[in-house]
């Protein structure tokens, strides 16, 4: 089982903060994005348009990053901490 986490504006896009997904074998982040797009098309679109950064186990990931059982995948809109 992998954990999916959504932050800030993305929580209202997917209407949840956290989700869980059972995957049998390791998948690439690219493949995971397809799985998510199937049930949450708007989210899939944002991922494809690179409007969302994705981390795996708290490290920034890219399309080729492998996701394994137990991993935590987080969807991160552009940061706005600190100040201008």
């Amino acid at each position: 089982m992998i954990t999916l986490k959504y932050f800030a504006s993305l929580k209202s896009v997917v209407e949840k903060e956290e989700d869980h997904l059972d995957i049998k074998n390791p998948v690439t982040l690219d493949q995971l994005s397809d799985i998510i797009a199937a049930t949450a098309p708007k989210m899939g679109e944002m991922i494809r348009a690179k409007k969302v950064l994705i981390s795996v186990n708290q490290e920034m990931a890219d399309d080729d990053t492998i996701i394994r059982d137990g991993d935590e995948v987080a969807f991160l809109p552009p940061f706005s901490g600190g100040t201008k």
Binding site: A74, F79, G82, T83
Partner: protein, 145 residues
Amino acid sequence: MSTSTDSKIRIQSEDFSVTEEIETMKKVSRNIGGITTFLGTGRELSKGENITKLDFEHYPKMAEKKMEEIREKAVKDFGIIDMSIIHRIGPIDIGENIVLIVAAGEHRQETFKACEWAIAELKRTTPIWKRETTSNGEVWVQDTP
């Protein structure tokens, strides 16, 4: 979330005292000659809109990790003595403290450089988000990265 002033990296909902953070930093070395601090505060205006409230959210663990990476790189790359980084989360009023970076060094030049780099890097790499409430409602601020 740690709120002890002993920790140099903190994300907390409570306010912090700049003086206390500086005094904690001074204890690191008797050879500190310059301390540059940057304090981010809640502004009333954003793109012409009057803000009534700010709200910050973070990704726990990852945000602290990124802030610690910034601290370590600042000490290594700029030759400062030490750095602390504190960011508040939750609701914040206009005029209140949001973020504090304290860079301490032997001489002033490196502390200015390290402090300015660290706040820019924090905005770039640390998963913290800001929601602004104006008369038009609430919006998550999406600065172009």
